[in-house]
Amino acid sequence: MERSIVSDGDKMYRITHKEELCETVKLFDIEAPLIAKNFKPGQFLIVRIDETGERIPLTIVDTDRINGTVRIIFQEVGKTTKKLGMLRPGDTLQDVTGPLGKPAEIEKFGKVVCVGGGVGVAPLYPQAKAFKEAGNEVISILGARRKELIILEDEIRKVSDRVYITTNDGSYGRKGFVSDVLRELLEKEKFDRVVTIGPAVMMMAVAMVTKPHNVKTIASLNAIMVDGTGMCGACRVTVGGETKFTCVDGPDFDAHLVDFRELMERQKMYISEEIRATEAYKEELESALLSVYSLLKQRKG
């Protein structure tokens, strides 16, 4: 019997697959058929783990329309992402909403440089793939603090004509920053578009490097969000002197017009609360571990 597309909406958001890309970076496949069906590169989703959880935006790496799953990659930084990282295949999430945000502008531009830093490579991958499929020559530059944090290298290689890798400590690829490689390339070659996703400070550096060469540069911004549908304005950002909402007007914006200083300051708004929540969560975990430990001890005794 043909299944109604709509009735899939009330499915449980079950984790079907999990990989640890490194100690703090995890990959999940999650059942969310409607999101899988309508996702376009550049879009994101919002996850809420449980009844007391917060809503956090996460990037979509890939989708499997046949199995109705979406693939996400995230880095454990605060309580919510740490808690998420503890989940296993078979576990379900309370809420997954998406795909949100405007799709990336994918066209045949010519030569496109994709610059990704850290877990920013995750949402960069579907864009790089789409640019390749649209007939562009794709040059990818991936960067991370150290070797283990370079993710999706094989996947990126498959959709790129050339790949450059940098690490801050020189443990893999070239020692230094993605912007160093980009600067050198720009001196030798002409590019039609640069797309950058990663930490705000990196995207700002990329924008500064491309600006004198007048290459259209698109940054995908990672602002703090609540609803993700344009209702709250938590994610507002100044672009070309105008206030925009990252969730509905973006997340992609012209990097030469973005006020990155403001974005970075706004990202720090809840640092003290984040620390408090993470500490409380650690204590919770430790006391849980202790009680398991004492139970085991009792049994042995």
């Binding site: 709509v6 909406g9 998406g98 609540v226 304005g233 300051e265 720090k268 929540a277």
Partner: protein, 461 residues
């Protein structure tokens, strides 16, 4: 029987106590108080009160039943017209609607119609809700976009008529503004949940986490459903457009209230969502949302909360009751004042707000006297949190993503008096069609659309 000139008072939490908690402020009538108030109703034959009610509740009818002690029948009488009486009994601006036309009100205080509605609704909730008889299924399917007051009402009415109804809600909880916007102390979320459960028990299915226009398109819905009602509300915050508005510590009222109400940030870190609790808070605007924001900030522990409004007290759009409550709780009103600049500290945090004094000039197109800045009257106030509550715009998601759906220059969806849009089989109502208005107005629109959708499903016209 002597005439009782004044409304029977409703017990309230003491202001000194209530600013430290999120429990409901107004405590409702006891059965004795309800009987006493019901006795004040003159049972006018022409029932002027009904014409003030956007959903035409038989007001003298239900009050008569209360008089006779028939509380169960009274609530059924209300529910003939209103699916959400626990909500409207609390948040309707009765002073501008039913009670405005009350004959008693001509000489004395009007009958406390809203309080009586609330009383019988709470009475029923305590006793257990009775469901109407199950209708014969019509086999027709209707999709409702948005689970706020318009959507819930439309869904409830259509389900009662035997149609199969599914509501699509973008957030993780149904209720729309009733859940994310109106605070617990004014409308307990338990009440909203009860009313939503009633709608579900009528047979309505609610799918959360579905953003129509993103997760599924309206066109996809049209393939599966016979009719669609759009009730996506006016959820987009307006900002002032003054320098410093994106500094840390400046919230839209929507964000501030959503964090506290929907995400329960007042219980952080038990709940994961944080909210900034200012010590000195300025709320810009003087509508109900501004009062809600100011009173929420107090409850989170603010030492000083200002309402900053560019006109005078007379023009404040909030309900009198809300303004009174805010005053009782210690909110300070800076009237005829408008902010011109927000300045921050070296860490990008709000520090000061520069304001200018205003005077009132000639009436503008809204009929209210236009505020004019008084040159040289600038002054600064020290604040560490600013909440902008100057109104909301209609949600653009559906108008933006649907071809052929006509909108107005204000971004609202164009509809006729029955809620029909420019698209075949698509109706709209509530704030998305009118711009930001009241809960009951949205419910009225949901009701009219439901009646018209029913007619269409029966006759094809």
């Amino acid at each position: 029987m002597p005439i009782i000139k004044e409304k029977t008072k409703m017990k309230e939490q003491d202001p000194k106590e209530r600013i430290h908690n999120f429990y409901e402020v107004a405590l409702g009538y006891s059965p004795e108080e309800a009987l006493r108030e019901a006795d004040r109703c003159l049972q006018c034959k022409n029932a002027p009160c009904i014409k003030g009610c956007p959903v035409n509740i038989d007001i003298p009818g239900f009050i008569k039943l209360i008089k006779d002690g028939k509380f169960d029948e009274a609530i059924q009488k209300i529910k003939e017209k209103n699916n959400l009486p626990g909500i409207t009994g609390r948040v309707c601006p009765q002073e501008e609607q039913c009670e405005k036309y009350c004959t008693m009100g001509k000489k004395f205080e009007p009958v406390g119609i809203g309080r009586l509605e609330r009383f019988v609704s709470d009475w029923e909730t305590k006793k257990g809700i009775k469901l109407p008889e199950k209708p014969v299924p019509t086999g027709k399917k209707v999709a409702i976009v948005g689970s706020g007051p318009a959507g819930l009402t439309c869904a409830g009415d259509l389900a009662k008529l035997g149609h199969s109804v599914t509501i699509f809600e973008s957030l993780h909880k149904p209720g729309g503004v009733l859940i994310y916007g109106i605070p617990e102390f004014r409308l307990p979320k338990k009440i909203v949940e009860n009313e939503v459960n009633y709608i579900k028990k009528l047979g309505v299915e609610i799918k959360t986490d579905v953003v129509v226009g993103k997760t599924i398109t309206l066109e996809e819905l049209l393939d599966e459903y016979d009719a669609i009602f759009i009730g996506t509300g006016a959820g987009l915050p307006r900002f002032l457009g003054i320098p410093g508005e994106n500094l840390n510590g400046v919230y839209s009222a929507n964000e501030f209230l959503t964090r506290v109400n929907l995400m329960k940030a007042y219980r952080f870190p038990e709940y994961d969502t944080p909210v900034k609790k200012g010590k000195r808070v300025a709320v810009i605007g003087a509508g109900n949302v501004a009062m809600d924001s100011a009173r929420t900030a107090l409850r989170l522990g603010a030492e000083k909360v200002y309402i900053v409004y560019r006109r005078s007290e007379k023009e404040m759009p909030a309900r009198n009751e809300e303004i009174e409550h805010a005053k009782e709780e210690g909110v300070e009103f800076l009237l005829l004042t408008t902010p011109v600049r927000i300045t921050g500290d070296e860490n990008y945090w709000v520090k000061q707000m520069k304001c200018i004094k205003m005077k009132l000039g000639e009436p503008d197109e809204s009929g209210r006297r236009r505020p004019i800045p008084i040159e040289g009257s600038e002054f600064e106030i020290d604040v560490d949190l600013i909440i902008i509550a100057i109104g909301q715009r209609p949600n653009p998601l559906i108008p933006q993503t649907v071809k052929g759906l006509k909108t107005t220059k204000w971004g609202t969806i164009e509809v006729d008096e029955n809620g029909r849009t420019s698209l075949d089989r698509v109706w709209a109502g509530g704030d998305i069609a009118t711009g930001a208005a009241t809960v009951i107005a949205a419910m009225g629109a949901g009701k009219r659309a439901a009646a018209d959708i029913h007619k269409y499903l029966k006759t094809g016209e």
